[in-house]
Symmetry: C2
Subunit: 398 residues, 2 copies
């Protein structure tokens, strides 16, 4: 893949083809129909490299994430009835089996839907919210949209509750304002609820005020309640791919707000700093963890290359280029894209491997587990395709 | 290091020197005195490669583990007052800061001893028990021995309580009968309490009956309540280094019971099977995780080489050789010893690196974190030295 530089207008069409055809002819056919559990409902996403089911336990995250993806494709690509039906398949399973009696959601259930594991974080809820919102829009189902909104309000309430486990050293994570931002963006698409924009405003302020640290030129993952730096393993930890994802959520908001200059500056600052921390100058690719004081990480797999930070960085650099026109983002986009496409795709069975050693060789060859499934890769393929097609249309007009 | 084959009697003395001098002149001086927190008590064990403190939060595991090591050296090597004082330093911190009001112990506390994290497992308790027992013996402190015994009885009660989180799919882990076995062995040394041997008998029966699977020729980590095999990521998971550790706990019991043939057979079967699963024929060293059906592991760092499985395998193969006289164990001992000593030691600052990539290169260079500290390496050096010296004395008699 050497034809991906955004600086050359002739390369946009072939690049669109890489993302679009990758999505429609490689990623989706890997998961459909085999992820659909016709017998018990929902999706089976713990698949081996050739699609063999490795375990039948169902990740609640992926019931929401895949239902969201399918409904989003229906909303934005083509109104294919099989996508809508497949999305409903996940929504139905979520509603039948994934909520506990206290209204919170499980994390892992058996194939039949019996609860196996519940976590105190509300990520299962977040992915269910975006699934319900996208599905509600796709199916014209008002009650699904309402359910998304109700659940979103409930999650906001959980977030506002004081945490019990943190009396000695209260702290907070970047992940929360990040995921609230993207969740609010999705709910807003379906409902136009003004609360969504309020939430996004609050989250962006919090990210900039509390997590962005000019003294380290980085976005931290964990800080004190008022953004205090903590000189511990946790407090020094950066996840460059995660921060870059936060960066593009903010750039997406800039795009939707008529290229808001403050949001562009914030999003590109995050991407600038975290590409610098994340890019492995020795082997290429994006390192998983870094320490803000360059001390050794406590996580022994800190230098592995995971698929998803590369998906997020491909999006982030593309969007940064589109919003600023700065050539360096086109170069970075090509750099990350080329490394990712040279190392992650499985040419034999399709889809991407998820977990590479630092040197780019494959560690575990599975395509799905509790953390990996039909989400980051197809979201990148879909989103980049959409943005590039828009760019092409815009330049055709001028 | 090519002089370590146990088959050559002339090599026993140099091998003793490797373990003894490594312990007394390399490992211990790395941790002492710098791990001693003179200001707030207890031990600081999150150290960088050169001994720099990476964070001051205190691992409760290591308060117990280091106190145990120091008291054990005092009991078995030499009655050095500084070892006894350093052991007491950890015991005092444990008693002042590491117990919650409900009698359970914390997992992580601040430098000053304020609680940061508590886990539902009782490993903090197990390490406190062995520390109290060894210290009680070293100091002739009856109340410490009694506290060890009381805490041991309390942990046994926790174990007997029904688990609340497992109604859909109850399961149990190898780790529990394993750690109860070694804890009981340590409490017995100090108290001669008959309950200890009863507990060991029960645990060994459970390991053999429920976790040893001849159909896979392996020792599993997680099974159903009656030893049922579960065809999930968890159920198929093996940790060869952990299983080999279980193997040598059983061989140690065989040794203490006048070379009990059933225990020798069980311990060596575990070591035979798990060395076969664990040894990396491509790069050498012991792989962290394997899947009993040879399916891909869900843990992305499954093929890393950690220090402690090598410590345990060096002990396990040595003990298997001493108890059976079979040359293959001497060969395996040499194989693991040579690979470990070629890759883990830090020639510049001493001690061992803990975390290597599959190919033997160092991942994170720290010497201590919440999981690594003064335990597996010095325990191996101490134990192997003791066993080899005993062997030499025995052969001198004949």
């Amino acid at each position: 893949m050497t034809t991906n530089t955004l600086l050359n207008p002739n390369h946009v069409v072939p690049l669109i083809r890489v993302y679009r055809d990758g999505l429609l002819h490689d990623t989706l056919p890997f998961w459909l129909p085999r992820a659909i559990d016709q017998e018990h409902g929902g999706y089976l996403t713990a698949l081996g490299e050739d699609g063999t089911v490795l375990q039948t336990d169902k990740s609640v995250w992926f019931q929401g994430r895949f239902a969201w993806l399918l409904a989003t494709l229906y909303n934005t690509v083509e109104r294919r009835p099989e996508w809508l039906a497949a999305s409903k398949h996940g929504i139905d399973f979520i509603n039948r089996h994934c909520f506990d009696q206290d209204g919170r959601m499980f994390f892992l259930v058996t194939r039949e839907g019996q609860p196996l594991r519940k976590r105190r974080y509300s990520f299962s809820e977040m992915f269910a919210i975006v699934a319900l919102a996208a599905y509600g829009q796709a199916a014209g189902d008002k009650s699904a949209k309402q359910q998304a909104l109700d659940l979103f309000r409930r999650v906001l309430k959980y977030q506002a509750e004081p945490k019990t486990n943190s009396t000695t050293r209260p702290m907070k994570g970047l992940v929360m304002p990040m995921i609230l931002t993207v969740t609010a963006q999705e709910v807003r698409k379906a409902t136009q609820e003004p609360l969504c924009t309020e939430v996004i405003d609050r989250c962006v302020v919090e990210i900039e005020r509390d997590f962005l640290k000019s003294e380290f030129k980085c976005l931290l993952e964990t800080v004190g309640p008022n953004g205090e730096f903590m000189d511990t393993f946790d407090g020094r930890t950066m996840i460059p791919g995660h921060a870059i994802e936060a960066g593009w959520f903010i750039l997406e908001e800039a795009r939707l707000r008529n290229n808001d200059p403050h949001l562009i500056r914030l999003g590109t600052t995050i991407i600038d700093w975290m590409m610098d921390w994340g890019w492995d100058r020795e082997h290429g690719g994006i390192l998983y963890y870094r320490d803000a004081k360059c001390l050794p990480c406590t996580e022994y797999w800190h230098d592995m290359k995971f698929w998803w930070p590369h998906n997020e960085a491909i999006i982030g650099t593309l969007l940064a280029y589109q919003l600023t026109g700065e050539p360096k983002y086109a170069c970075w986009h090509q750099m990350v894209h080329d490394w990712a496409y040279a190392h992650f795709p499985d040419p034999l069975h399709g889809e991407w491997f998820g977990y590479l050693h630092r040197d780019g060789t494959v560690s575990t060859r599975l395509k799905g587990n509790v953390w990996k499934g039909p989400f980051h890769l197809p979201r990148m393929q879909w989103y980049c395709w959409q943005r590039l097609e828009e760019q092409m249309k815009a330049s055709a007009k001028t």
